[in-house]
Symmetry: C2
Subunit: 342 residues, 2 copies
DNA sequence: TTGTAGGCGTTATCAA
DNA sequence: TTGATAACGCCTACAA
């Protein structure tokens, strides 16, 4: 292993000079800097992470706590995790992956051991046990999602309320009057998953303002479940001409079932999805969709935690930021003007 | 921060005793062990990770390098990542997430800094640049996937050859004689992605042995692409009664298109998928599928790397293990006896 | 069975 | 602008 002392010897300077060249924390003559840099290159020196963490009292690691549960749409989680990792690297941080099932103890372990300088928590519940722990330990953290009491942490999430409203507006603009909202399975709502409840609330409010009649039905995301849901919808409201789908697994079955039942999209019924663009593009017809960027979510989360870490290590008290990312509507082939009344 | 010295004082012993109680590396009287354990509890002591890594010259961290690319089916990647994380914790390791785009330099950085004790590489290419780096640095590693020259590292992967053979056997057993193999996009084969090539090879060989006629067609996994692929298949081989699909995105479209074209599954044609069981269950009819366990893959990868680390820190030269996980066939509703000749 | 003490590689303070 | 040097917290060989 090549150490800072090796580099110092090779460059003919003291090890502290090497350290300062690398950290940029004090003025170094051009000549010395050059020599040191070159020695670092030649010897292939990389500072020992443990020693650095010990001396500087910062590990330059951010822990990312991901859900084990898979009722969340997994590709989105992964996209966020990768965005976090990429963004973190750009700020000089590495990312430690830990799973939700470690719970509050996991948070304690990571913080108390100094393994990570801060945490990013995914799949946050409104009343999340980990948040008090963070406050108690004075650990810097960012939540992806919203919580009831988020004092002492930062938050970032998609603006699901706006996303729901966008769906209502788009269908209303096209003249639809009877809408069905196909949501996630009932378990998701019972857990009070923020994204599901807030989307629905945003849709409901805007639908009310625009004079839409609508009903909301849960759906497990399998073919059978979707078939059952659709049958009930059409029985309860035969005049339904617009569908909002917030359930990745239900999209394919829904399109198939509509076709089977003799309804053409978008001439007879319009379908708008709340899902990734990539997924929306996969169907026929390609789906009009409301989307939030997972990449952006990860990037903002990293910026928040890095900001908190910086001000806290400068002795300051970080602001509790709250960021809501604006969703975007992309109109494709699955929505069109409401059919004329028969 | 509570240190080992705090615990020692609280328990009325020396800090080395605390260390030994925690590591179990020397005999400790029952009484002392009890007192130390209780002090650890009371004070909420967690060993400082940096100090530990520095002194013991092991970080107890495994780095997991994941692909940025998303033409791999993402949920599987995530499942592996989570399985790795969970399994690693059971061996006392944490997992550092790094992305493929760091390339060989990333491997160098992680190894030279001592940030991680070993690496697990996903999405390995046959001629992967990172492998020589690993050998050069003497870094312990496990590949998920196979490489041409894997000396100095361990490997684990699904037995895709066996998976392909299982598909051929199942359809042959049911009396099918003309089969179409719907694969991934051509880019995947041009990259010589092992899983794609090996599955095809396994299928081809067994198909030959069993006297099946078959053709292989690439497919991008969109609706349009699947439609084009299917049209060509049916034009080239109107007598096709069996479909093997190794492309998650093409499954839904294929089923829809078969139905649209008046073919009933499984009475007219049989469909067998190479995909996760969870996905296979989502369609109607539920799909007969050949599956490998992502969880198992992650678990074995961790066991391999932990094993390597153990023997190497004991001064030994680790074996280069090569594990192939046997896939399983689950018969569901999408395959049945070949129709009688008209 | 337990304690003492040196060292792991960096950072950062204090001098020069 | 640069150099010594004392922490940082833990592990482990050596002593007792």
């Amino acid at each position: 292993m090549v150490t800072i002392a090796d580099v110092a010897r090779h460059a003919g300077v003291s090890s502290s000079t090497v350290s300062y060249v690398l950290s940029g924390k004090r003025a170094i003559s051009e000549e010395t800097r050059r020599r040191v840099r070159s020695s670092v290159q030649v010897l292939g020196y990389h500072p020992n992470a443990g020693a650095r963490a010990l001396a500087a009292r910062r590990s330059h690691i951010i822990a990312l706590m991901v859900p084990l549960r898979t009722d969340v749409y997994v590709p989105v989680m992964m996209e966020i995790a990768i965005a976090v990792t990429t963004a973190a690297r750009q700020h000089g941080y590495d990312v430690l992956l830990i799973t939700n099932d470690e719970g509050p103890d996991g948070v304690r372990r990571i913080a108390a051991s100094g393994l990570a300088d801060g945490l990013i928590l995914m799949d946050v519940e409104l009343d999340d046990e980990r948040i008090p722990v963070l406050r108690a330990q004075g650990t810097q953290a960012t939540l992806i999602g919203l919580a009831d009491d988020a004092r002492g942490v930062s938050c970032v999430d998609h603006d699901f309320v706006a996303a729901g409203a966008l769906c209502a507006d788009h269908l209303a603009d096209l003249g639809h009057r009877e809408i069905a909202f196909i949501g996630y399975g009932s378990g998701v709502y019972h857990r009070h998953a923020g994204y599901a409840e807030r989307t629905l609330a945003g849709f409901r409010d805007r639908a009310g303002q625009r004079g839409l009649r609508f009903l909301h039905r849960t759906c497990e995301g399998t073919y059978e479940s979707t078939a059952g849901t659709l049958a009930r919808v059409l029985a309860d409201r035969p005049g339904t001409t617009g569908f909002v789908v917030q359930n990745e697994g239900a999209i394919g079955p829904l399109l198939t079932l509509l076709r089977t039942s003799g309804r053409t999209v978008p001439e007879d019924v319009s379908v708008i999805a709340l899902c990734q663009d990539q997924l929306a593009e996969q169907f026929a017809p390609r789906l009009t969709a409301v989307t939030g960027s997972a990449q952006e979510l990860g990037r903002v989360a990293v910026e928040q935690i890095v900001g908190r870490l910086a001000t806290s290590s400068d002795g300051g008290r970080p602001d509790d930021d709250r960021a809501l990312l604006t969703p975007a509507l992309t109109v494709r082939e699955s929505t069109g003007p409401a059919p004329l009344l028969p």
